[in-house]
């Protein structure tokens, strides 16, 4: 039962990936696309933890830590470029 619910949650998160990609394709400005990138990075962190749960290896969580710490730097870089402070 619990396992089934986790699988269901994974499918919902994967559907979220598709929706965020839609906004990335549609987004009229670079800022819209960066919002999509922001959402995709944080969804990826959740996905990595789910993968670690499925293959049952605790060491995969180190990768999720790198993601959680570093993924916002890309978004900040694009934002600072857009506002002209790079």
């Amino acid at each position: 039962m619990a396992e089934f619910i986790i699988h269901l949650a994974t499918f919902i998160v994967l559907f979220g990936v598709i929706l965020a990609s839609v906004r990335f394709i549609k987004g009229p400005t670079a800022a819209d696309r960066t919002v999509a990138l922001d959402v995709l990075t944080i969804i990826s962190t959740a996905l990595i933890v789910l993968i670690a749960l499925f293959v049952n290896r605790v060491i995969y969580l180190d990768v999720a830590l790198v993601y959680a710490i570093l993924s916002f730097i890309g978004v900040i870089a694009v934002a600072r470029f857009i506002e002209g402070g790079l």
């Binding site: 060491i59 995969y60 790198v66 402070g85």
Partner: protein
């Protein structure tokens, strides 16, 4: 238009070649060849629990030395080519200051990021990660400083010293392997210890720490050269007041 047609033709040709290769490919079901040897002998020979680290640092150590050299050459090339770039390029005007929130977050996060990078390359023989990843994480911390404050200056003397010292230590450990153990870059110059402990796997933590520091300083150097030289802090303060 004719160029586009030629490009399309080339892409279709390569697509055909790759598709035929793919259709005739049978996935392996067993470890074969050198991988089999590595997996079955690594722990007793070298003592690192991360097999990828063992291959990168020891079995293919010369590759890694060459790679660090390539990285060093690329960093040197960037710095030589961009030495006098600000004289000819028109100045794009004053850069906008970043907000208070970003300043605070940078002050809060930078020590954690550097510490995490050090954790990654010191634990390279036990958990995923190693010198290259840790170096990239440390360079990301420097990058966060650059993004927050566009006029952030780095201490070049310290950077150069760290880079040269780590590179020299790397080669020195390799040469020590010639005399004390089986060959160049052999990690058994130190006792192997118990697998799974942080002080194990011979010289692998030392080598990976050197690689991490060297990669981190080189990537930071590339970033600083691409950003351009820092202006004087007095000017920046005036700009901040004017806004």
């Amino acid at each position: 238009m004719i160029k586009r047609a030629i490009a399309l033709f080339l892409v279709l040709f390569f697509g055909y070649v790759f598709t035929t290769l793919l259709l005739n490919w049978h996935p392996w079901t067993e470890l074969i060849g050198v991988a089999r040897y590595y997996v079955s002998h690594e722990l007793t020979e070298l003592g690192a629990t991360n097999l990828v680290t063992a291959i990168v640092v020891t079995y293919r150590g010369l590759d890694t030395l060459g790679e660090v050299t390539v990285l060093f050459l690329a960093a040197t090339g960037v710095s030589v080519l961009l030495r006098r770039t600000t004289i000819t390029l028109p100045s794009p005007g004053p850069k906008r200051q970043s907000s208070e929130i970003l300043h605070t977050a940078t002050r809060l996060l930078t020590p954690f990021i550097v510490m995490f990078g050090a954790y990654i390359f010191i634990n390279g023989h036990l958990t995923p990660g190693g010198g290259f990843q840790g170096g990239a994480v440390i360079a990301s911390a420097v990058l966060l400083l650059f993004l927050t404050n566009p006029h952030q200056a780095l201490n070049h003397r310290i950077l150069k010293t760290i880079e040269s010292l780590s590179g020299a230590t790397y080669v020195l450990v390799g040469i020590l392997g010639l005399f004390l153990a089986g060959g160049f870059l052999d990690n058994r110059i130190l006792p192997l210890g118990e697998p799974g402990r942080i002080l194990s796997a011979g010289a692998i933590p030392i080598i990976y720490t050197c690689i991490g520091l060297k990669v981190g300083t080189e990537l930071a150097n590339i970033l600083e050269n691409l950003r351009g030289p820092a202006t004087s802090p007095v000017l920046e303060e005036n700009e901040g007041r004017a806004q």
